[in-house]
């Protein structure tokens, strides 16, 4: 087992280096730069700006310097917020993204899985149709529509929640619902189809034939096995949701890091592009790693080859 983990960690490091290198190369190959303006900056000032951020070094030196900074968790200064480092942006933005994302994750797991199970058990009954209808709606309606509607009705018409920010507990309702919508629907559909598959398995028939109570059959045998594909989805989903969403954060005016994924690219804010990408990549790889560990524990058939 230990060798397996070490191998995994090693391959994660390689992946991060690859992601960083690719992002760095792509970022520098697109036209425009961090100081591209409608009104061109005077040459001398442009030189000074490039020198200030070491953008006048050969690209390979810039790359090596960046990697050196990365090892010490120094993500460099942001070009689009002068005097602020990318570390500051992530420290200040991640808590908000994670708060909203964390609540959304709880909602998805606590509501999505039971809904999927109930739907599967009541297949082709009204409740199944209702849940699947809602789930289809949740998958097809984009989050910006959900977000705008929530603001319009609950903040505008009813005045129950603030229109923006995270100042009161009630203000979490809008962003959490908008963020959870898609995944909640996806998880319940996934759970349902996986449940239906498991319910057709021989061992469920055997369990029933052995006279186990329905609760025991469903709870101890069916659900647990049906969860494997769900865990596969939920792990990386957590990484995606906790690092925020551009749309939800922009519409609810939340200071999260989700918006930097998009804004930094249009600003050619090189250090922020790199910073948020690396941050997300690391987070994502860790979650995938957790999922693999969870598999082994969840399903005894999945074993890691040891020692080879």
């Amino acid at each position: 087992m230990k060798t397996y983990y070490l191998k995994r960690i090693f391959s994660m490091l390689i992946t991060i280096i690859l992601i960083t290198t690719l992002t760095f190369a792509m970022m520098h190959s697109i036209p425009g730069g961090p100081f591209t303006r409608e009104r061109p900056v005077p040459d001398e000032i442009l030189r000074a700006l490039n020198a200030k951020y070491n953008l006048d070094d050969p690209i390979i030196i810039q790359y090596l310097n960046y990697m050196k900074g990365l090892i010490t968790f120094d993500l460099g200064p942001s070009y689009s917020k002068i005097g602020t480092t990318v570390n500051d942006l992530i420290y200040s933005g991640f808590p908000s993204s994670a708060k909203v994302g964390g609540l959304a994750t709880i909602l998805i797991v606590v509501l999505g899985i039971p809904l999927g199970v109930i739907s599967a058990l009541k297949q082709n009954k009204p409740i199944d149709y209702f849940v699947m209808f809602m789930a289809t709606l949740g998958i097809t309606v984009p989050s910006f529509v959900i977000a705008t509607l929530i603001i319009y009705f609950f903040a505008g018409k009813l005045g129950w929640i603030p229109s923006f920010g995270l100042s009161t507990p009630a203000s979490y309702i809008g962003p959490v619902l908008a963020l959870a919508g898609y995944s909640l629907s996806f998880v319940s559909r996934l759970t349902r189809s996986s449940m239906l598959e498991v319910l057709r398995q021989d061992y469920i028939r055997t369990a029933r034939a052995n006279g186990l109570t329905e609760l025991s059959v469903i709870g101890r045998h069916a659900v647990k096995n049906a969860l494997i594909p769900v865990v596969t989805y939920v792990g990386p989903m957590i990484a995606a949701i906790l690092t925020g969403s551009f749309v939800v954060e922009k519409i609810f005016a939340i200071n999260g890091i989700g918006r930097y994924f998009v804004e930094s690219v249009s600003n050619r804010d090189y250090t922020t592009i790199m910073g948020v990408t690396v941050f997300y990549a690391v987070f994502y790889l860790i979650m995938v790693f957790f999922v693999d560990v969870a598999y082994a524990l969840l399903d005894p058939r999945i074993k890691f080859k040891e020692g080879k």
Binding site: G102, I106, F164, L166, L298
Partner: protein, 552 residues
């Protein structure tokens, strides 16, 4: 079996720990909520506060470094320059009075006794320090190009790397600032009201590198009507009345709560529910009904023009008749109506709002050069195209209309495409590029017809017309007419009648040569709650709350 339970527990624990980790902070925010989200009646009755949507989180609020309007809006509240301009009128600021020498080459500002927000005295030396900091390439201010237009001796040379000691700005004593000009410049005093020329205190600036001091309430020292007491990245800022401001008695607001909401529809909703009182922007779709129905909605002219560049290097556009035909085929009034924000159809390059030597509006005096703002010149356009050898557009090659990706730009491009097609029988393709890519493409001249827009920062039409001189970095159409260059350089050296006559002549030449198709002059919109009174705005579009108050 135990392993499975363990697995489920682990998955749940993983989820919970992550979510709980994220949940520890809301409690802190919640306790602060009642003061942070004041709605009418929540704050103590005796405190005058309003909620302002600044827009995007400003890149910086250091006067020397800032180059954006959101930052400028904040700086105009926290700092004050030699003079303050509101609605086009110049009021004395830190300078009590000023004298211009007879030859127009020396301006002497007499400064009043005033203090920084930390109580220390503000002197003319602070201006000298600050201005030189703005020019110094080491500061790398993106706005340093403005020094070229000040005509201050040696200023632009300093931006280009020459010595700062040769710059014609000096402080013979604490209350006198002497500015030496290379040529007489009528607009110099109004230009100096701009945020780039506001003073910064050296010890404060050095307390936080790269403008970081200005966002840090512990280090932010300013001299305007308000001072910064809180700044949260991505969320908002708090400004409170600066008791050390020289004119503090005239400041009626106690506090301003600024929010950074760059999504116009969210801010609009928040305004509707009373959470915000001042919006710099509203959703485009709401504008027509707001103009018609809401007396609290304001449309101001903005000193700028929206236009299209012909690529003058192409064979395709060599014939002036072709350029004129394409220009006349555009129905500007229809475009403005479709855009619906009160834009002014443009038949020239200089927008309304500039007064000439006789006090007449430049825009009105200049006229339309035979370019219609509506569809009345289409027959003439067809005639011109036929004369150029393309009757009914036959044989005219298809070309591409290029713009940067945005709904508004796309709408204008589509309208123009349609007008070229129906009015002239010319086929075009539309192509859009992401903003920064578009900047490169346009600069490289890698286009046929491309969108352009220009906003000026000082009260002289030269700021607009000079961009089409042959050496100008912003001459995107690559227009070259020696006579035009001569007119602009003579305008730069003269004042009064001579200055404006050169500019009138220059614009006429530009509208005859037509390296561009003018479309419309920009407007600026604002939505302001009636509870906020006495607010103002500079002609260049910077808001001013120094005289604002809350209506009872």
């Amino acid at each position: 079996m135990k392993k499975r339970i363990l697995a489920i527990v682990m998955v749940l624990a993983m989820i919970l720990s992550l979510s709980l980790a994220g949940c520890t902070k809301p409690a802190e925010t919640t306790t602060a909520a009642p003061t942070e989200a004041p709605t009418e009646g929540v704050e103590p009755a005796d405190e005058a506060v309003f909620n302002w949507n600044v827009g995007a989180d400003p890149k910086t609020i250091d006067p020397c470094l800032n180059g954006a309007s959101d930052g400028g809006d904040v700086i105009n509240q926290t700092f004050e320059g030699l003079v303050r301009e509101k609605s086009g009128v110049i009021y004395p600021g830190i300078a009590e009075s000023w004298d211009v020498s007879e030859d127009g080459l020396t301006v002497t500002f007499n400064l009043r006794e005033s203090k920084w927000s930390d109580g220390s005295p503000l002197t003319a030396h602070d201006f000298v320090y600050s201005w030189k900091r703005g020019m110094d390439p080491a500061t790398a201010s993106e706005y340093s190009w403005i020094w070229e237009y000040t005509n201050i001796v040696g200023a632009y040379a300093a931006v280009e790397g020459e010595s700062l000691d040769a710059v014609g700005v000096s402080a013979p004593d604490d209350n006198t600032l002497v500015v030496q000009l290379e040529t007489p410049t009528d607009y110099i005093v109004s230009l100096l009201s701009f945020y780039h020329f506001m003073p910064t205190k050296q010890s404060a600036v050095e307390a936080g590198a790269d403008g970081a001091w200005a966002k840090d309430p512990a280090n932010a020292v300013s001299n305007g009507p308000f001072k910064l007491t809180a700044y949260t990245i991505g969320e908002g800022l708090t400004l409170v009345k600066n008791e050390n401001y020289w004119n503090a008695d005239a400041v009626k607001l106690d506090r301003i709560e600024g929010k950074f909401i760059d999504e116009a529809s969210t801010a609009y909703q928040a305004y509707q529910s009373g959470e915000l009182d001042f919006l710099p922007d509203v959703p485009a779709a709401e504008i027509p009904s707001l103009i018609a129905e809401d007396p609290n909605f304001y449309v101001f002219p903005l000193l700028g023009t929206y236009y299209y560049n012909f690529n003058m290097d192409l064979e395709l556009f060599q014939d002036p008749k072709v350029r004129r035909a394409l220009t006349l085929a555009v129905d500007r009034e229809m475009i403005c109506e479709t855009m619906g924000s009160g834009q002014v159809p443009a038949a020239g390059f200089v927008p309304p709002g500039f007064l000439d030597h006789e006090g007449n509006d430049f825009f009105e005096t200049a006229g339309t050069y035979g370019i219609a703002t509506d569809d009345s010149k289409i027959a003439e356009a067809q005639q011109l195209l036929a004369e150029a050898g393309y009757p009914n557009g036959e044989g005219f090659p298809e070309f591409t209309i290029m713009y940067n990706t945005s709904e508004g730009h796309q709408l204008v491009a589509e309208l123009i495409q349609e007008m070229f097609k129906t009015n002239l029988g010319i086929n075009t393709k539309l192509e859009n590029q992401e903003w920064a890519v578009f900047q490169d493409t346009r600069k490289a001249g890698d286009y046929e017809l491309s969108r352009g827009g220009w906003l000026t920062d000082f009260m002289d039409p030269m700021g607009l017309l000079s961009i089409f001189t042959s050496e100008n970095a912003y001459n995107d159409p690559n227009y070259y007419n020696e006579a035009y260059d001569t007119l602009l350089s003579s305008a730069a050296k003269t004042r009064g009648a001579e200055h404006f006559e050169a500019l009138y002549e220059a614009q006429e030449m530009l509208m005859t040569d037509l390296p561009i198709i003018p479309i419309y002059h920009y407007t600026d919109v604002m939505l302001v709650s009636p509870r906020l009174q006495g607010w103002d705005r500079s002609v260049l579009g910077t808001v001013d709350f120094s005289g604002a108050s809350i209506a009872e």
